[in-house]
Symmetry: C2
Subunit: 318 residues, 2 copies
């Protein structure tokens, strides 16, 4: 009998699930369209059926636990709370609903915490007790691991480095406040910086004809590769903001490493090199050479499912 | 036989020790002059003799452990590392040196972590698993408690909120960098702000004749009580900076409370009222009404010894 966990990643568009062995081997994957189920009970039933269908195709396995990564997921309560990009409003008691179908443990957290779990169990953070996962997508997510455990705090919502305020008079944030880090250091953040720079500088750029809605961080990376000065400066400024957040996070929890993951992290040296440079310049002396800044070792295509599955394995270990 | 711990607070001028029962009752206190012992071995011997002398005056007690609070104290290594205000240079293996005289556990941490321990074991944080201690003295110290344990991180030096950078182009900091929080939110910080405001505003103030070296946060509090507009604005600006750090700390570790301690916290409503106002304005929605901002419940005169003693009791409990 092979022991497996089910890792589920709930996204605004798709919800993906994987049947995962303890070594991270994904035996099967499947998905449903999140948007097909505006009523939460229908969604849970559809996901349950999808799990059953997927499992029935594999011989000799035994599900030990289910892990779920979801936006605004609360580990303590097993709930999704006021997720702006999902159809279900208010507080959704997702774990409780799942437990009607499964007697095994069902656990839930947000995407970035799940990513941190994935890194800790299957990735570059194996053996580390103190590290921070930074996901650089549309926003900036973070999962903080302290003494080998994800930091949830008193509410279950700890680890929101993307919503630390770096400029109180700065850019409007989706959270209703101003100057949160994710408006500077994220795929969206670098696009906003790039546009600002086009207004400031007179340099030519192939992207001067692209509207803001169509601009992506990948386009800016391609331009940087061509030597576009504005694109290179946009990376430099983005790196400066990100390194400030890393330096301040070190003062807070003194991790042994940061792992960068997601769209913007894929820009490789264009982001890692200046981040490391500014980090070294600005980190407090007592922490010098105590922290690594590393790319995630988890493949992006598997990360969400592996993270959720790792959450489930971790629950079984505790 | 009464069980006691010895709590030792090493300061730049005095080193104070107390013989403390588990309920926080201090049976006796004593002190030596730190500055009398430029050689560390002499200091340890003198402190040992002082402990013996103090203990000999009390009947029927048994020392179970020794806790030490010291600037730049490292819990993991039991060392004082590069403390700028102490005569002993480099890395001092203080716990090891003490263990030549005592077979009981000897533990050491920095002052702010010891204060957090004191609050957790004897003060307002009893029963709390997630809180942050902020000491507002010459600088800003912090002790972060997560899941009932002080956060030490991978190096033992975590919890340096006073050295998070809040303005990268800001005021010179003693650490060699610019814009660290403690240059704004501390007894020294409010003096710097007050002086800046005297330059900006034309209002009369009784403190216009006082030189910077002679100015204290207590003078500014006294002026605020008299309705001095510059003093009141200095408190307002200080509170704004401090509340920004609290808001960002909530995003990081989601504590259930902050405890403010030390000189500036003694200004009472002049600091607590605007801090609470700006905190409520700026905290992220998901954390609204989840965090209290409270004065420390430990008397300032006992805090250092009680904190160090609490560290010792905590070690015995683990």
């Amino acid at each position: 009998m092979k022991e497996v966990t089910v890792g589920i990643d709930i996204g605004g568009t798709n919800s993906v699930l994987g049947i995962v062995e303890k070594n991270g081997n994904i035996l099967a994957e499947n998905k449903i369209l999140t948007t097909d189920y505006p009523v939460i009970n229908d969604f849970v039933l559809a996901l349950h059926r999808c799990i059953q269908e997927t499992v029935s195709g594999i011989e000799n396995i035994s599900i030990k636990a289910i892990g779920i990564g979801a936006p605004n997921g609360n580990y303590y309560n097993g709930t999704i709370e006021y997720a702006p990009n999902l159809a279900w409003k208010g507080i959704v008691p997702l774990c409780e609903m799942f437990k009607e179908y499964y007697k095994e443990p069902v656990v839930l957290t947000n995407d970035a915490n799940a990513a941190a779990m994935g890194e800790m169990i299957y990735g570059g953070a194996r053996g580390m007790n103190n590290f921070i996962m930074i996901t650089l997508g549309t926003g900036l997510g973070s999962g903080i691991v302290v003494n080998g455990e994800v930091l949830y705090g008193s509410t279950g919502f700890a680890g929101e480095i993307g919503h630390t305020i770096v400029d109180p008079n700065g850019r409007d944030c989706g959270c209703g406040r101003k100057g949160c880090l994710e408006n500077y250091a994220s795929a969206t953040g670098i696009c906003r910086t790039f546009l600002e720079l086009l207004g400031i500088r007179r340099d030519k750029s192939d992207l001067r004809t692209i509207g803001f809605e169509d601009l992506t961080s990948i386009m800016i990376t391609r331009e940087a590769e061509k030597g576009d000065k504005v694109a290179l400066e946009a990376f430099d400024i983005t790196a400066k903001w990100l390194s400030l957040a890393l330096v301040n996070s070190v003062a807070f929890s003194s991790p042994e490493a940061f792992f960068l993951f997601g769209g913007l992290a894929n820009a490789g040296e264009y982001i890692f090199k200046p981040v490391q440079k500014y980090f070294d310049q600005n980190v407090q002396r007592i922490f010098k050479d105590t922290v690594k800044i590393l790319p995630s070792e988890i493949k992006e295509s598997n990360a969400a499912v592996l993270g959720a599955s790792a959450l489930a394995w971790n629950e079984l270990a505790n």
